[in-house]
């Protein structure tokens, strides 16, 4: 069986048998086996000597009572107490140093494997699974698993100490020991009942907190709107209600959580009181010495306390194991894009041919069926069509983000599957619909695909777009930090940087999935210029949303239901009044200057009718 706790899984999740899971975990632990053995030895030693001080003190008491003659023994015993206490610290120190290293190393190796697997996964995988959840497997699940290692060490230490104390007690006075053991099931029962209760109230508490957080998230974003309409009070009342509810729920939670330790404490108190009396009885009967009696009293806490940690340990094991399972599932997820060769081209001409190609996504019906498209080296092809016509699929097959099922796709007359994937992509320049920038400077981002390019070359290229004016709009030019995901610069600037990346890179094949975000007309002009520069140097496949991009293509392909229904230049297609003309009317009409002029005239005429 696997360890699942009703967490929402992903389709690639699988259940590993317990033995497979343990074997897999062991592969990560094995490189540190020496350290692990050392840790085990330390844990055992620590547990055993942790049980000793009461025994020694009992002997001290008994010896000291006989007095005078036993001076040397007394000194030895007292020194032994001191040495054992200090050794306890030394073991603690050694163990925790080892633990810090082993957990940090295992966690690092696991995270690295999970990250490498994720980044090498197909695009199909990434399109399907949310990036947040993948990241959380690499980090949060990893932490959960590491926590399991730490807890195991703690619990192991406790168990060994408990066992040692148990053995010592049994050997000293078995009746009293058995009486003390009777408290174990009672404590366990209380702890587990309490745990269920605690879990329920904690869940409620977390839900209430989540509501408060959601409310705050919404209203903080809404404060400006509220201020605009002077409605501060209404959102404040909303907030106050949620906040108050959360307080009440958490008050209840606090009550439940506050009960357990006092209860255990009281049980411990009862057990000690009983031990005090009945232990004393056995002393008077001469069964044990007074020192042994005292030893039993001191040990009972050391015996009972670990029981609590063992009881709550099982849930942690489940959490830790299912975390490990989720990480392994991520590492083991199957890939679909498989290369048959590893041909490394020195350069590409840019000839692209789809022959009778069949393609569908893992879920869903056929996207391309018996598809033919031939793109000449250096040609610029724009693909237009309604949503779902298959435009993006064509681009994603050329970039080899997806695997096709039948037919043939060749680049420079060579099967796309026979190329080395990394080598193939270094000859392609791809600009995605939402251009993605990494935290860092503008320069670093431009250099992302061509690590070798010099600053001067980048500056030269920059000047070719609008006389380099766009660079002046950045506060620190090329050294401007773009922020996480490029959030510090505008959408238009991000597009320019993404296009600059391609300009610097000079790929043989350029794939553009054009952005739909609106951009100020001045930047828009510069983007057009940059685009035109790229079109001159590469074979281009353009999924176009801008009228200017469509008109600058050599050939327009009109796609519907995965088939090419028309092709030609903008002027030809518009003149023929077919599907393209309809698409134009739906998507591009409002971008034309003609439309703009008409809007101007419309408004002027209204003005004429309604003078101020």
């Amino acid at each position: 069986m696997g360890f699942h706790q009703g967490l929402v899984g992903e389709a690639y999740d699988r259940q590993y048998s317990n033995s497979a899971l343990l074997r897999r975990i062991w592969t990560y632990a094995r490189p540190y086996s020496t350290k692990l053995w050392l840790m085990l030895i330390t844990i055992i030693l620590q547990g055993v000597i942790g049980a000793l001080p009461p025994v020694l003190v009992a002997r001290v008491v008994d010896t000291g009572q006989v007095n005078t003659t036993a001076n040397r023994l007394l000194i030895i015993l007292v020194l032994a107490v001191l040495v054992i206490e200090v050794l306890g610290y030394v073991f603690y120190y050694v163990l925790h140093r080892l633990l810090a290293r082993v957990t940090a190393d295992i966690s690092r190796n696991l995270a690295t494997d999970a990250f490498s697997a994720s980044i090498q996964q197909d695009m199909a995988f990434h399109d399907r699974y949310s990036s947040g959840k993948i990241v959380s497997r690499i980090t949060t699940d990893n932490l959960d698993f590491v926590l399991l290692i730490q807890l195991t060490v703690d619990v192991l230490g406790s168990v060994i100490q408990s066992l040692t104390v148990g053995v010592i007690l049994l050997r000293t006075e078995w009746r009293l020991a058995l009486a003390l053991f009777a408290f174990v099931p009672v404590t366990m029962l209380i702890v587990s009942v309490y745990r269920n209760l605690a879990r329920r109230v904690t869940r409620e508490g977390m839900r209430a907190m989540a509501n408060v957080n959601a409310n705050i998230k919404e209203t903080i974003s809404g404060i400006s709107v509220a201020k605009n309409f002077r409605q501060e009070d209404s959102i404040y009342q909303d907030f106050k209600t949620t906040n108050e509810t959360s307080y009440r729920v958490n008050y209840r939670r606090g009550f439940v959580l506050s009960i357990v330790f006092p209860t255990i404490r009281t049980i411990g108190g009862i057990s000690i009181a009983l031990m005090t009396y009945y232990g004393a009885l056995t002393v008077t009967q001469g069964l044990i010495s007074a020192g042994a009696w005292y030893m039993i009293l001191l040990s009972s806490d050391r015996f009972l306390m670990p029981v609590m940690s063992i009881t709550s340990y099982w849930t942690q094991v489940q959490t830790g194991f299912s975390a490990a399972e989720r990480i392994f599932a991520l590492i083991d997820a199957k890939r679909t894009v498989v290369q048959t060769g590893n041909y490394v081209p020195t350069r590409l001409e840019g000839k692209i041919d789809f022959n009778h190609l069949q393609f569908h996504y893992a879920t869903g019906g056929e996207v391309l069926r018996d598809f033919d498209l031939h793109i000449r080296p250096g040609e610029n092809v724009a693909i237009v069509g309604h949503t779902g016509a298959g435009k993006s699929s064509i681009a994603r097959l050329i970039t080899r983000f997806y695997e096709f099922q039948g037919g043939e796709l060749t680049i420079d007359d060579r099967d796309i599957r026979s190329y080395d994937l990394t080598a193939l992509r270094t000859h392609m320049g791809i600009v995605t619909q939402v251009p993605f920038l990494f935290e860092g400077t503008v320069e670093e981002n431009i250099r992302f695909s061509v690590p070798g390019i010099s600053r001067e070359e980048i500056l030269d290229l920059s000047r070719r777009i609008g006389k380099g004016e766009w660079l002046e709009t950045f506060s620190h030019g090329l050294d401007t930090n773009v922020g996480e995901r490029g959030s510090q610069i505008s959408m238009g600037q991000r597009q320019l940087v993404a296009l600059m990346r391609v300009l610097a890179h000079k790929p043989s094949i350029f794939i553009l999935d054009e952005a739909t975000a609106s951009i100020d007309p001045f930047t828009e002009k510069q983007i057009q210029q940059a685009l035109n520069l790229i079109l001159e140097q590469s074979t281009s496949v353009l999924i176009a949303h801008r009228l200017s991009t469509v008109t600058s293509a050599d050939r327009i392909i009109v796609l519907a239901g995965g088939e090419i229904i028309e092709e030609g230049t903008h002027a030809q297609l518009l003149a023929s009044g077919g599907n393209y003309a309809e698409l134009y009317n739906t998507y591009f009409r409002h971008q034309s200057l003609d439309y703009v002029e008409k809007a101007g005239r419309l408004y002027s005429s209204r003005h004429a009718l309604n003078p101020e």
Binding site: V81, S221, G222, G269, T523, H545
Partner: protein, 585 residues
């Protein structure tokens, strides 16, 4: 009295001069529970000293040759009663601190929220929402943890430090030596421990943050990584990042492993026992007292073990409190000016020699001069960062200009009543914010008592009626996380409907949504044209068609007005303007 835009009094006055004073000024108002908690903590510790004393008594009679079982029984009964009572005290301690923590969390959050509402628009447009969110949730949580488990553990366990001192003193005055030395060294070593640990944990968080944000970027931008064939270099970067994180974690682990109070405890137990036995040999005390003393020394284990976490918990919480205070104490430079000019606004807007800067470094607006007559439509055009939005924000007094003045109907904005001014100006932001409520409630947000009919008319004018009716529950459809999501164009039309309902004299529209199709574009055009009618309207826009029909076009460039005039005038005078109205070939 503090200057504020929104004033609802908080439950009580607090002292915001330092984190500790601030928390204290909250705590004294929650005194009943706090007192319960403190008494619980003291009672719990005091009763913890009972068993060691009773062990001693019982032992003495056991070894006395003629053991008196009723003495032992009395000892057992006292232990039983005291430990049961201790359970009750411990409950009061835990519950008291937990409730205090929850009350503090609730009150602090309320105070923080009221404070945020009172902050100026300036503050809100400068402050990142994510950052405020983090403060209102995580930092306030950390403040909660100061009390439970923080102070609960610290105060609850500090009492235990004094038990061996009092027990020791009762047995023989010299026996206070070990526990007193322990006490002093304990505090010194914890202070040192925290001081060493603090920079390391900060690094751990820092490296984890760096690791995590690059990781999230890589997975989010996976298409870019793959496109650039940079998988290997990103894996190498990840390895470097995680190695740095690993190294600092180990460093932290080493510091925690070296935790000195642990050694001090070991030494105290050893030397304490030795000392007590010496006294026995001198005949100063009996063996029973040795037991009592040794048992009381082992109570030092509690403060030692809890101190690994509890002190850092408090210092984390205080750091959170400091972050909250830094927001709350931020200057609020605008006030409501209730006595200022109020009255119906005509809509004449004049900027004269206006300069403005967010930070002292660079001016965002430089010497802006502009006159707009009532009812005119002004298109503000320019690249991102050219100052368009800032210009608009000066009109409803989100900011005050550093130099020059903005006048509406000839009255300087600083002399207007803020309420009167803002209630007649509507801003539709770039990111249109809608509440997770029904569409009708969202439209009526600015006019809570609006009738169904009024809402319907507003929606119709905003060209929103059709798409609203197409939604599953029409006007009663809930928007947002738990409801339907709307496209940018739809959100914009809802915001316009809001504006139609409040009928402002000046409308400021930050319009940067892009229409995917021409039909939507037609509708948005129509809605905006209707909205502009009969009021002064500023449109910050990217749409050529809007620029084309505006009465006045203001072209902004790097904080200056680079050209201004009608479309025809600009076509004649400005080359860059002419460029955008020409096809690129």
């Amino acid at each position: 009295m503090a200057i504020s835009e929104f004033s609802t009094p908080f439950r009580y006055k607090t002292d915001k001069s330092s984190p500790i004073r601030w928390l204290w000024s909250h705590t004294i108002h929650l005194w009943p529970m706090f007192v319960v908690a403190m008494l619980g903590a003291i009672g719990n510790a005091a009763l913890a000293s009972v068993p060691p004393l009773e062990f001693g008594t019982a032992y003495d009679t056991l070894i006395s040759g003629t053991p008196l079982m009723h003495v032992v029984l009395r000892a057992a009964v006292i232990i039983f009663i005291s430990q049961s009572a201790r359970g009750v005290f411990q409950f009061f301690r835990n519950f008291g601190f937990e409730v205090t923590a929850q009350q503090i969390e609730r009150n602090v959050r309320e105070e923080f929220y009221i404070n945020l509402l009172g902050k100026s628009m300036t503050f809100h447009s400068l402050q990142s929402i994510g950052d405020l969110m983090a403060r209102a949730t995580n930092d306030i949580r950390e403040v909660n943890y100061i009390f439970s488990p923080g102070i609960n553990m610290v105060f609850g366990s500090i009492n235990f430090l004094f038990i061996p001192i009092t027990v020791g003193a009762a047995i023989h005055p010299s026996l206070i030596l070990t526990p007193v030395i322990f006490l002093v060294l304990y505090f010194l070593s914890i202070a040192r421990y925290l001081k060493i640990l603090e920079p390391v944990t900060r690094n751990v968080r820092l490296y984890f943050g760096a690791l995590n944000s690059r990781l999230a970027e890589d997975i989010d931008g996976i298409e870019t990584v793959k496109s650039a064939a940079q998988e290997d270099s990103e894996i190498a970067l990840f390895k470097a990042n995680i190695q740095a994180y690993r190294d600092t974690s180990v460093q932290q682990g080493d510091i925690e492993a070296r935790f000195l109070p642990m050694l001090l405890l070991a030494l105290a137990m050893g030397f304490g026992l030795m000392h007590a036995l010496l006294l026995v040999r001198q005949g100063a005390i009996g063996m029973g007292s040795v037991l009592t003393y040794f048992s009381s020394l082992s109570l030092l284990g509690f403060p030692t073990n809890t101190s690994i976490r509890s002190y850092s918990q408090i210092s984390l919480g205080l750091a959170g409190a400091r972050r909250l205070l830094s927001v709350m104490n931020m200057e609020n430079n605008l006030d409501k000016n209730d006595e200022g000019h109020a009255g119906k606004l005509r809509g004449e807007v004049e900027f004269s020699h206006v300069s403005f800067a967010y930070t002292s470094e660079t001016a965002t607006l430089k010497d802006i001069n502009l006159v707009v007559y009532p009812g005119q439509t002004v298109a503000v055009v320019g690249q991102t960062g050219s100052g368009k939005t800032t210009l608009a924000r000066l009109i409803n007094r989100t900011y005050d200009p550093d130099q020059g003045s903005v006048r509406i109907d000839g009255v300087d904005l600083r002399d207007w009543s803020l309420d009167s001014l803002r209630s007649q100006i509507s801003i539709i932001e770039q990111d249109i914010f809608l509440f997770s409520k029904t569409i009708a409630e969202n439209i009526a947000f600015g006019k809570p008592g609006a009738t169904q009919e009024e809402i319907l008319v507003a929606a119709r004018k905003a060209q929103a009626e059709n798409f609203i009716n197409a939604l599953p529950e029409g006007f009663e459809t809930v928007i947002g996380e738990r409801g339907v999501t709307l496209s940018g164009g739809q959100r914009q039309r809802l915001a316009l409907a809001r504006a139609f309902l409040t009928d402002p004299r000046i409308l400021i529209l930050d319009d940067s949504t892009s229409a995917i199709d021409s039909q939507t574009e037609d509708e948005i055009q129509k809605a905006i044209m209707l909205a502009a009618e009969g009021r002064t309207t500023f449109i910050i826009t990217h749409r050529l068609s809007q620029i084309r029909w505006a009465d006045l076009i203001v072209v902004m460039k790097e904080g200056l007005i680079s050209s201004i005039g009608t479309h025809e005038e600009l076509m004649d005078t400005s080359e860059s303007y002419r460029n955008i109205f020409t096809e690129v070939q």
